[in-house]
Symmetry: C2
Subunit: 168 residues, 2 copies
């Protein structure tokens, strides 16, 4: 397989993959393109390589920056802005976990804690099942939360860091 074909395939699959992970197709495709670009590239490069509009590139690069996966790079002597993606996959994964935890898991756990304190007769089958389900999810979520925190902070913890080196 030639580079051009392989690139196209990677970008397309990473885009499809992204849609399953709360990241939209184009955002994931731009991310893919940046991951395989050895040097920072411009809005126009992205527009051209992915055949998408300027507005689209602008919005999605902004989102990628919001996710902490991409950064703007200023190149001396160049008027245009350049974009570059974090290439260390461990850092990419950590960053995504961190963001999703903040955006999804944390608010869910907060809600569950409230729902657990429902008023009502505990002998009522409905009430009983409701509180049992909510508390089961909350406990599980709480543990997941802790595990993820540990992963995110792995770099500050040498025991874990050495364990996690396997992943790097």
């Amino acid at each position: 397989m030639k580079l051009t074909e392989a690139k196209a395939q990677f970008i397309s699959s990473w885009g499809a993959f992204g849609t399953h992970w709360g990241i939209n197709r184009t955002m994931a495709q731009i991310h893919a393109l940046l991951l395989i670009s050895p040097d920072p590239i411009t809005q126009d490069d992205i527009m051209e390589q992915l055949s998408i509009s300027r507005g689209n590139v602008n919005m999605n690069t902004r989102d990628l920056i919001g996710w902490g996966l991409v950064e703007r790079v200023l190149i001396p002597g160049e008027r245009k802005e350049f974009f570059s993606a974090e290439k260390d996959i461990w850092k990419v994964a950590t960053q995504i976990i961190k963001e999703r935890k903040k955006r999804e898991l944390d608010p869910m756990l907060k809600l569950l804690a409230q729902l657990e304190q429902i008023e009502g007769d505990k002998k009522d089958r409905e009430v009983k099942q409701f509180t049992e389900t909510i508390s089961g999810i909350r406990k599980f979520g709480g543990q997941a939360d802790k595990v993820l925190d540990v992963m995110i902070k792995a770099d500050e913890n040498w025991v874990l860091n050495s364990l996690l080196k396997f992943f790097k």
Copy 2:
């Protein structure tokens, strides 16, 4: 907070939460409803409680069964079919992980293995960055794959099982 209000909130949030996890809103809402129902319920119960059409319930319960999260229950003397959800959250999580691994991670790793064997001059910056990125993702994905397999099979492994009891 009263049960009725709490139920509505839980169903609505679980639905929103699901959309971030590759599960559609309605499917997640039906799942939520089943999770808090002490007894199996019918299509009509679901239609009524969530105000959705018969066809919608039918398709989504079918999908939930496909994900291994819900099962049909036959109640002696009843003409209608009843549905019931697995209530053990650890099992629910395991099942979701198993399915998503099969549907998403495995095919991605297969593709990456192919893309890694690209033809081309390794001194070319483009080629170099491409293979480095692909191989980085593949290695990371491969480790994740192993970890997930271990989690899925935890019940067969007592050391892990005792570790994982924390989650249960």
